[in-house]
Symmetry: D2
Subunit: 344 residues, 4 copies
């Protein structure tokens, strides 16, 4: 049994961690820190927790001292210092922000306008995508939890890249996200009246998840993979869908592709490849750690179309972090993540 | 450990039962019947269950034969026959429809245009509102699970009626429901474009839950309670809110009222009376079995305003049925119902 | 032909005024002022206006100087000064905020924590509800445009109060509003994820529209009218619905009530009393200046239930202000307000 | 002044035609036919029209006899017969369904499983996309109004194809639509609870708008254009967005592309090319006939990304049909289409 510490507990990812960890069979307690709400009870801020949790928000020092595993969900640039303290005390540190995701500091500089202040620490970090890095995660002490878009798009593309059916042309990743992905900070773009009943692309060529997707695709393909990526916001709270267009190296039947995908993911507990005739929906994975994938071949355009869906707050954030924790701690990989996705 | 049978498993209440019962510690298996989808696997109809459940839908005979506790979620008029068969075999039968809710057959005739075909059976049925009938539920073999509006409104009004602070004037119950309450059958009123971005009252003086509310209020007050009840549909999938206006018998402070409510519900596992300064929202109870209540006194109008919120599919349907089953089977009352309501 | 000036043009009410006035046959031009966006073009802030309007936002002095009729949509406390300047120049001033709505300064003090700095001016203001004050509006130079809740609830209650069918008991006004009513300022309550898929009451006994409703009901009834008022937010951008519960002085048939309402409003261009068997929906009045009303009698509770619906941004704000302007300027009352409400 | 006849008046496209034509300065009256609602008044079915229109639904014979211009919005296969009758009487017939859109009967057979029963009539039909066929529309007597997806995607791609900056590789068209596009017929996919809070692709390689897009792109490019097309449903009533990925024939700057687009559309009344730094949203065009376009270049992937947005019921259906009517009748092209899109 372990004690969990959470830094940045009152953001959307933080409370999703608390929700999921509350029933985790290996967790004996949760200590949560919040700069903005220190000394308040969690249920004052989020009344859903009334009668469920009597957690009182504390300071970061206490969180770091009294826990065995630390999750941090803070703005980029703020994770290195607590990660160092955790690492030096031999604790597992899982960063749900962007500080440790990119291996190439120049990419971090280009997209986040910052630098690696503690480069030695970065060399210890393991990118926490179990479907890519399960073995390395077993010994990890610092885990960089992936972004939501990189998780959703990468899982949709990995089998095509590894199997070699993807040609060398550019892949197009068209991504749709619910608004929880934008966080709890108030912005005009997330003001109800401004985003209700509307869809729009944003940060068309400049989104910060771009270099992370590039890193993942190259890792799987063993070569740089050219692609374009356009994220969009859609009027719903949760859920993510990536529709990816992959030029095929040669004509290939849809059933063959589906078999490649099914084989690739046959031992994965949280990836579900849909049978022929079915198309994914973000609906079927809400509140769960599943990523659903359907494959479709457009023979006229010689293009493989992959649709992948997940809950941006679970497999796209808190759930995946717990999955990685389970691996690093030697727990069953699905422990605490067996919630049945509701039908609606 | 018990085996659960579900009749009418592919409606919204049916799949919500499956979702909740899937993790119930006292349940060894689920057998589900569906007239419309017999022999299909559940995950074909609701892909959220893929990898979660390999349930195949069967016929009613098998459900009745191979289970220990039977839940029925079928249109009114169709529960008496299977209830009789279950009762005669000594099994617990929980009806989530309307057949056994009303004690007065003339009310059933007036609102449902039917009759009690097996009156002896009706005399055995216990109305499954634990906060009203916990003791009787312990020995129940046929349980009539309450409607969503009667549950939400009654829980909001019980302490005011029992304590005597409610005057003899009419109570006004203004109720808002998400669209899952209307079920999965296709209607123009539940067609997305017809109900999106709109609110409207419906069945203003004729809703079938009216006599059931009357029965509950009279049972608690020990006298007939005059009231008006107006349900409305709001554009969301889940959730229910009742705002009830109660004429006060005499001026009384809000804190006094809150204390009356808190005391009344102090041992209830699923009713949360909100502290001073807080107002309920349907948001905080979604996907959980909680009913949240806040009380407010309008001194100028000498009126108590009670706001009560619940998830119409959980405390308003499937969750409450499981709560009653737990009581009738001698399980812990909250077993299988400890899901943390998500913050969003 | 008149020139329109708008102070506070970039709030939701401001842009709704521009949308409606753009096609007004008596308007030769619009001059718009905005403190926060001075010198920007309107279409930079609201791209819907691209190709439609080349309006550039100016300062208040210019607006006041170069226009014939001035609309102000600014926070309370900021309208008296420009109203005085407009009045002294003989211009018509229509305030869409709260500064001139309340006749009783003590009520203003109690609810808005302010005072009448220019009491002489207040004595000139006419409350701009045409169905109540049409005659007085013809000569008005300062018009206080009503709040959305007072308009919707008052129109639903006026015929019952004037005809004497309403008893002396308290009326209950249960009100539902879309989120545009909360304005464009960023708040947690209007952050998409916080209000999506949820309904909740707010400011249960303290909402600032309460004294304004009291003033209207008393004006129509010729006596103080006791009532409670509970506003709620529902997840939609536009629209308002009030369900009001009126104790009847004696039993009266629904058809009789409907006839009273139909007669009361028979010459009103923007009030539609629905025929027997129909219930209003906020859907049918969106983007239009209509207020729809349906009446229902609950004989058991001896209660009249009135449902009234309007678009909170049109009849509840900008449209009603234009209707009053038309009256005060001697135009046709419906000029510029003949948009057909869309079916969806 | 002309009299309008509408066949299929009570579907979503039909009532949108009525809404828009109601204020058309060249229209003296509307006659509407409906098989399902004959002899009912329009406002019984759509109460938004109460007090606005006293239209009573009639039969098709009357519509054809008493009108000068006929719009048909009926399921495919049902337009040829009335089109023939209209044509033989010398009347303008505008079909908003699919019967006359495809020039190649084999494509019609493949996607609609039907045949051209009156081939002579097809040779008279003009495809009603003014930006492609304005000159031919001037003399048209039968107009095939385009589908929503073909309009939105084609307008986004035309300048790239005509200018030659598009390479020969496959174009990817990722399209998002609100649910009104699915019509008023009841289906599980458009049941509120089934589509709320979810996004999903559908008919991934089989959508019936595919051959129509192919026809348009080939017409503009002067060669067959390979492409894939994936439509998605998003939880909103109105609006459409296409994000199209175009391989560039050579590196080209974003400003150059924007200038190409702006020049191409400089005389178009209803296409708005957004300035640098701006991205389209379906929000800004709702209830209007505009199509907004923004262009973005991903230099790394050597890909042009075009985002185009329109209201699927206006420029994607009823509005475009009126625009074509205006051209064919010699009216001002924007008459009756000058509604200001609301900001929300």
């Amino acid at each position: 049994m372990i004690r969990i510490g959470i830094i940045g507990a009152t953001g959307y990812v933080g409370v999703e961690l608390i929700r999921l960890l509350h029933g985790h069979p290996q967790v004996s307690g949760i200590i949560a820190g919040s700069v903005s709400h220190e000394a308040k009870s969690l249920s004052e801020i989020y009344p859903n927790f009334a009668s469920v949790s009597d957690l009182v928000l504390g300071d970061i020092d206490t969180v770091l001292r009294d826990s065995d595993v630390i999750f941090a969900s803070v703005p980029h640039g703020l994770s290195e210092a607590p990660a160092r303290r955790a690492f030096d005390s031999g604790k597992l540190f899982i960063d749900l922000g962007a500080d440790f995701r990119l291996e190439d500091e120049s990419m971090y500089a280009a997209y986040y306008h910052g630098s690696f202040k503690d480069p030695a620490l970065h060399s210890k970090a393991v990118y926490g995508l179990p479907e890519l890095n399960r073995e390395r995660l077993k010994a990890a002490r610092i885990i960089a939890n992936p972004g939501c878009y990189p998780t959703c798009s990468s899982l949709g593309l990995f089998p095509a890249l590894r199997s070699g059916i993807a040609g060398e042309g550019s892949i197009m990743i068209d991504a749709l996200s619910g608004l929880s992905g934008a966080g709890r900070s108030l912005t005009l773009d997330t003001h109800f009246v401004e985003c209700d009943e509307a869809v729009a692309p944003y940060k068309v060529t400049t989104h910060r998840h771009r270099p992370e997707i590039a890193q993942n695709l190259a890792a799987m393909a063993g070569r740089p993979v050219p692609f374009a990526f356009v994220p969009h916001l859609v009027p719903m709270s949760r859920g993510m869908l990536c529709t990816s267009y992959v030029p095929l190296v040669r004509p290939v039947g849809e059933d063959v592709v589906r078999e490649i995908f099914a084989t690739f993911y046959k031992d994965e507990p949280f990836v579900r490849v849909r049978p022929a005739g079915e198309t994914v929906s973000s609906r079927w994975v809400r509140y769960s750690n599943y990523c659903d994938i359907s494959v479709h071949v457009d023979a006229e355009a010689n293009t493989l179309i992959v649709a992948s869906a997940l809950d941006n707050m679970v497999k796209g954030a808190a759930g995946q972090a717990i999955q990685s924790m389970n691996i690093a701690c030697g727990f069953g990989e699905a422990e605490g993540l067996t919630q049945v996705p509701p039908a609606f």
